[in-house]
């Protein structure tokens, strides 16, 4: 049986597990919103964790979540580049008809509160999926991942002012869609 020495520092691996693994769902959630495709998100998250472990010695704290997000973002950008170069097969397109604009025109099928809630969440997900990349990224980092403006600026590598204007744009777009949906409910 060959000796498996993947990394020469189990202490490092243990710390990495303790710090990074609890954020797997966070990283996966961001990947889903950034890539809008479950299979690509799977690959990106796995790649993200491999890179994160490899570069774990560069992690200086304090919060590991933004650090993981920054790595994921790089992985996703590579994926974007690949998509841009690859001939479109259709499989890489937005899933769940995300790009068909007024998806909020869905009728309520049942009055049950649970269903309504799920329905709303589904609607919001699709509205978010419809946002252009930089706005979607900023919005998700803020509203779903709960990062501060400063942390978002670090992850997205832009000034805080840009974060603020992107967030304003993203929310304004969502608001229009939201209002249109509220209108339909009446």
């Amino acid at each position: 049986m060959p000796l498996k020495i993947v990394d020469n520092d189990p202490e490092k691996a243990r710390r990495f597990r303790e710090l990074a693994l609890p954020h797997l769902d966070d990283v996966y959630t961001l990947a889903r919103y950034l890539l809008r495709n479950a299979a690509d998100a799977d690959d990106a998250v796995q790649e993200c964790y491999l890179r994160a472990l490899k570069h774990f010695h560069t992690y200086q704290g304090p919060a590991i979540k933004p650090w993981l997000f920054a790595i994921l973002r790089n992985v996703c950008n590579a994926e974007y580049a690949r998509r841009a170069n690859a001939p479109s097969t259709g499989a890489d397109e937005l899933p769940e008809d995300a790009e068909k604009a007024p998806l909020w025109h869905e009728a309520q099928e049942t009055p049950e509160a649970q269903i309504v809630k799920r329905h709303e969440a589904g609607t919001i997900r699709r509205l978010i999926a419809g946002l252009a990349d930089p706005f979607r990224e900023t919005f998700v980092l803020r509203e779903i991942e709960n990062l501060s403006y400063r942390e978002i600026a670090d992850v997205a590598e832009v000034p805080v002012g840009t974060v603020m204007s992107r967030l304003a744009r993203a929310r304004a777009m969502l608001r229009s869609a939201w209002l249109a949906e509220q209108e339909l409910k009446k």
Binding site: P10, L24, D25, Y28, R171
Partner: protein, 251 residues
Amino acid sequence: MTCDEAEILLHALIDGELDAGHAREVEAHIATCAKCAAAARDYREIKKAMAAGGLRYSAPPELRRRIEASLPRAQAPTRRALLRGFAMGSAVSAIAATGLFAVILRGDDEARLQTEFVSAHLRSLQANHLTDVVSTDQHTVKPWFNGRLDVAPPVADLSSQGFTLVGGRLDYIDGRPVGALIYRRRQHVINLFVAQGASAETRAAKMETMQGFNVHRWSERGLNYWAVSDLAKDELANFCEKFEAATRAAG
């Protein structure tokens, strides 16, 4: 404050990112501007709807499993038994301790351990991580291990005998922390690994060659030693004798 300014800043207000002074200004604007007030109200509502949940994804179990499998294994308690089993000088005792691993142990645990120590020696040379504590002073190196190991490895100053102490390092042999003392003789590096043994028995020394390295191992007063180096066999044996003699005299 103008609507254009408020349009950006009211988000910072909602997100709690605004300092008190600006927050007051934005609030003052909203109080007098119906358009911005309506926007702020909608944004808060959207935020509330989003907080209701259902927007987060859970990583698929298969992905989680793949990622966990790709990480270096966490410390496995059975490895400890393996080391102890070696110290007892018999695979049988190790099998008795961990019946589960009988198949893996099967009498070749000694060779496996030896491979690991040679690998650790190689890593220390390649990874530019020869020492954690750099000192030629045994009184600096010895206390460094305090709290890092469950044993206190004896450290001997052998510089007068041609073996220079370079420092110490914490190494891991498949998940178990092991102390490593680093000595130099001319251009050659000696890694002397020290780990706790299972009993106080003293075992006869043994010299073997593996992957071009000589490995000399012995047990002494409850500690197991593995010296690994590219030094010639007789020189390495000489080093081990000197080390033993010095620590025996000190202890």
